[in-house]
Subunit: 140 residues, 6 copies
């Protein structure tokens, strides 16, 4: 159970209502999820978070599906239950198939494993990696 | 400095040499990075890790660049220095531009933020998310 | 469900009962929460943890509310459900208002975001920060 | 070494320069730290991050020192080296004494310990904690 | 509720059934737990994970109980609920007593605390530790 | 570089000197490592941490080597550099061979991987696991 009360649409003040309307218009949906309704107890955070997500998740050099997959991969790594649930749904809505989900989970699992192997052995960063970074070379 | 000695190619026994050769052949490179040379101190782990990565990172429903971006996103979330260095390089090699990197980092940052917001407020998972999962619906 | 049985007050041996009594006397309450009742299955850990918390959380250069807010911020960052519940309650008891909670969550969210941005880009620590540390300077 | 080049003040385009100027004016300093200079490689992220921090860290129900202490506590929990360095400095600038630092670290350490104890034993959340949350009670 | 449907034994295709049979034969049990039944939705991951665990958890220089205790310690540190439940059970099956569990939890708690203390103060690694590592000395 | 000055033996006040002496007597060594010298800037934390570690790491139902291995496994999972260095050394001193280290790292890597797999798929805890816990059964 949330540690603060959720703010339903008809209980919302003008600032919160405006954000709710924008969420529904932007995502082409007719409902507000629990995350937004809980964040609404602190309107500046609701506004800032929504505006940030709108900007960060828009199509760019990375397409929307790729961005959702990255969001899901981070949420799985952090083991955030709500986020895994909502972003698995969002990824599916953006076009993720069951096979894609299986492959994403496999990559996330391996990455979490090798992160600990390399840190645990305190492997030194290869000079080659540093050289490429100094010049922002796109290739190695 | 690594907690075990690195095994150079010419010091390697037959099992390790075979893995080194396969890494270079598969990745079309002529060198072995420090991670593999450290893992080689425990040959079963070297073999298993390489075989797993080969399987997991091959092109599938997700293309190689997407898989590298996911790997990088996890490494950034875990703040693993070696991994960030090597997978930034690998992502660039697979086609990641500076703009893609900027967008990826923005998504990873936001995801790490909202993961804590939703967990910190202990937001309950919406029923809608559970219904979609029960039937493996690809859409929400 | 806990992986060990909880030890209720009337089931407790002398060492555990003494700790329970001290908790209730120190906190001016008449009940023992589930955390203590589970820890009690290993009495040395119960005793050491209670004694440590008593020492660490007492008023000092930081007042009790500030200490509770820090405890909550860590628990949110780690996404520990029980801890978030109990420390949100403890913070409220110590004087945290809804507005304070909203601001704390905003700071915790931003910190978790910028931690990953700076680590992900492998930003080098500015010399200025090192100089100030060498001399324990209180100012920068 | 950062994975992208830092953008120095005199190399910066108009959007980045404007942010640099605002940082220096707001913080009453005459230099830009490495974090901002690296973020500047992706101007939307630089702008959004600075605007968010400005809003989140301003004095409110929580004073600036308390906010910096929370930021430091999160950075220590996540073990982000750059952040620990910069926020230890920022906390000192905001008034943190050596004694306060010692007490903060003690709280952060204990919280990271008890988070694992309670999760490891899978302690169930007491009903009392849930009741208080349902009504947003400020007291327990 | 899992984000994909579980694959029951009688619904399983040949590859999955073979893995299920091997799990039951190796562990001398007559049932398949939920983790395997969910992983089965992506057969390559089910196969690779089972084969890896079989190899990694076999008796070696470390005995099976020690390996289970390590697995549990990691799961507690990461606060993975399913893993804590299943590996507490597996550790008990391998010979872990209540006293051992209490001592393990105490060590895990302290390690999570001191990890943050040392990182938070940015303590430099002693030269002695580096010397011993360079030569793989078994003693310090 | 540490964020506070290290307190060398001959600079130490009586409380700190007493702890230094006890460390050296207990561990049968003639030097104080950087971690203790940094903690000494806040004497209550130095004392409490040393007393806690002495109690927690003593031989019990788990022998000293097993406790050191657990400590190392947690430090690797958290990717704490100083801790990995010092506890790899301590584990070797307690009897850890190169083969044991290789097997420990393999277990830690797999555990970090499967933790994310099971959390990412939100696998429900099997009823069997709950039953065994309710009665503290040592067997499953």
């Amino acid at each position: 159970m949330a540690t603060v009360k959720m703010i339903e649409y008809d209980q919302a003040g003008p600032e919160v209502k405006a954000v709710y309307d924008d969420i529904m218009a932007t995502r082409k949906i007719d409902w507000i999820n629990n995350f937004w309704k809980v964040l609404a107890h602190h309107p500046p955070t609701l506004t800032r978070t929504w505006e940030s997500l709108k900007e960060v998740m828009q199509p760019g050099a990375l397409d929307p599906l790729t961005k959702e997959l990255i969001y899901l991969a981070v949420s799985v790594t952090n083991q955030c239950n709500y986020c895994i649930a909502s972003h698995t749904a969002a990824s599916r809505k953006a076009g993720m198939s069951d096979e894609m989900l299986g492959e994403l989970m496999a990559v996330v699992g391996m990455a979490n494993e090798t992160n600990r192997l390399v840190s645990g052995y305190q492997v030194e960063i290869d000079e080659r990696f540093k050289v490429s970074r100094a010049a922002n070379s796109p290739r190695l």
